[in-house]
């Protein structure tokens, strides 16, 4: 059990209010009709699933219902912060992406 901060509501709430949205900043191939099956399969199904820091999407399911990004350590559940998608992207890029 952990507490997440929703950057839209500016509120700290219990995990039960939120829905997990998986790995953040995954890039959809820009030409789905022409990429090979491996590339498309990789986008659809493959996951980094890191043990350690993870950039992930959460939605405030029983609150404002908006998505935001969280940097959480999957080995300890420590949370480094939450941001709106645009703000989170800046921090993510500044760090050089997922490690």
């Amino acid at each position: 059990m952990f507490v997440l901060f929703c950057p839209h509501c500016q509120e700290k709430r219990e995990e039960e209010e939120f829905g997990y949205g998986g790995e953040a900043f995954r890039v959809r191939p820009s030409t789905p009709d022409t990429v090979d099956d491996e590339t498309w399969g990789d986008y659809l199904f493959m996951r980094s699933n890191p043990k350690g820091w993870n950039w992930e999407l959460w939605s405030h399911a029983t609150g404002c219902r908006k998505f935001f990004v969280v940097k959480r350590n999957t080995a300890t559940n420590a949370i480094a912060g939450s941001w709106t998608l645009a703000e989170g992207r800046k921090v993510y890029d500044a760090e050089g992406g997922a490690q």
Partner: protein, 417 residues
């Protein structure tokens, strides 16, 4: 060579106050090189080593484990064994395992306490009942011992179940597989370890794989916390940590690691002589030979490697179990724990060669791999020994995630375990 366990050995050792039993298996130091190294001494890894030695004549094998033998999901699960899956490929794989379970105690000369007490998968809505009927029909076509039961029949066999029309989760019926059962999870790890050890397999504990050496598209060996181990072939059977190992070889897997929790009660007199599962309410229960209620919950939805889940998941399951069995409302719970399970998009395992020659993965069993332990080891041993999948695991190769031939057992398979 270890002596077999027998009534006679029990009697003679008993006369000596049960002193002088030999250790069941040999805990080895790693040698510099092996023909086959299996990573992960859970039930699946140990079974793989056993069948490699027994059926394929491979002798130079090590099973290396970062912690202690059987300390992963093998000893954290609720031990439900069944084969009433929906799709042909999955049914055949789990049925192969169930057949091996039926002779396992004799084969291993180790009592794995496999108890075929049957499993009920309850239906609470009309849609549940349609899905159950479809699955039972599919099972019967595949020669699986599946039956449809109505409410009265379920009540007759499980008198303590709340089948009242006013119940929060009314029981409209169930599927029933009489040959399903439970087994002693530790004994499965110990039994396979002992039987593999007899064939000279080295079981190396406290030895963590931290890197893989590849050259020319081939595996060369493993960097471990106890030094480099050269290996011609490597089979990874690391459940929730499979993605971590795959990354060392530059391979991506369609796996998410989630906590899955279970809890047991204090010991009580026998009240429940079968297994009851309900997909709709995320709960299932059986009673162990020690008399504890063994209750399993659903997964936490976020990914995590913490081996503990959130309390609200347990709360939800406990509430559902009490609705189904009002008689349990004042039973005290003794222990609760979590394990990290490796879920896949189609809720089916991956037993596969990889793009790295000599490197094989057996993972993705998620919330339900204990039941497959002997079958999984058996077909994975074949895959490694022949460098070619066994007919039963061909459909479970990694390439199904680019060909699109997924085996969708999600929801179809009664419940996740």
């Amino acid at each position: 060579m270890k002596k077999d366990y027998s009534l006679w050995s029990l009697f003679t050792k008993g006369l000596k106050h049960n002193e002088g039993w030999d250790p069941a298996w040999r805990s080895a130091d790693p040698k510099p090189s092996y023909n086959v190294v299996i990573v992960g001494a859970g039930g699946h890894g140990l079974a793989t080593a056993y069948y490699l030695a027994k059926e394929h004549g491979v002798r130079d094998i090590a099973v290396i484990e970062k912690g202690y033998l059987g300390g992963g999901n093998t000893a954290r699960n609720t031990t439900i064994v069944r084969s009433n899956y929906l799709w042909d490929e999955a049914t055949m794989l789990y049925e192969h395992a169930l057949k091996l379970w039926e002779g396992l105690t004799e084969d291993l000369n180790f009592n794995v306490m496999f108890s075929q007490r049957g499993v009920f998968n309850l239906g609470h809505t009309l849609q549940d009942m349609r899905d159950i009927e479809r699955r039972v029909n599919a099972n019967v076509l595949n020669g699986i011992d599946a039956q449809m039961l109505d409410t009265a029949e379920v009540k007759r066999m499980i008198p303590i179940l709340n089948t009242s029309k006013n119940a929060r989760y009314p029981v409209l019926g169930a599927s029933y597989q009489p040959r399903a059962g439970v087994a002693r999870h530790d004994a499965v790890a110990w039994g396979f370890a002992r039987a593999a050890s007899k064939y000279g397999v080295d079981i190396v504990e406290n030895c963590e794989v931290i890197g893989m050496d590849l050259a020319g598209g081939r595996i060369q060996g493993l960097q471990t916390s106890r030094g480099f181990i050269r290996a011609e072939r490597v089979g990874c059977v690391a459940s929730g940590h499979s993605s971590v190992l795959a990354k060392m070889a530059g391979i991506r897997l369609p796996i998410d690691s989630h906590p899955l929790q279970a809890f047991v009660s204090e010991s009580m007199k026998p009240v429940l002589d079968t297994i009851v599962m309900s997909n709709a309410v995320h709960g299932y229960a059986s009673q162990s030979d020690k008399g504890e209620l063994v209750i399993g919950a659903g997964i936490d939805h976020y990914t995590s490697y913490t081996q503990r889940g959130s309390p609200h998941i347990i709360e939800h399951t406990a509430a559902a179990i009490i609705e189904l069995f009002p008689i349990f409302s004042r039973v005290r719970m003794n222990r609760q724990w979590g394990g990290i399970v490796d879920t896949t998009p189609d809720a089916c395992p991956i037993i596969s060669k990889t793009k790295v020659k000599g490197l094989y993965f057996n993972c993705g069993w998620g919330t339900g791999g204990f039941k497959a332990t002997p079958g999984s080891g058996n077909v994975f041993a074949h895959t490694i020994a022949k460098d070619d999948p066994h007919p039963l695991n061909k459909a479970f190769s990694l390439d199904r995630f680019s060909t699109g031939h997924l085996i969708d057992e999600h929801g179809a398979a009664a419940v996740a375990h």
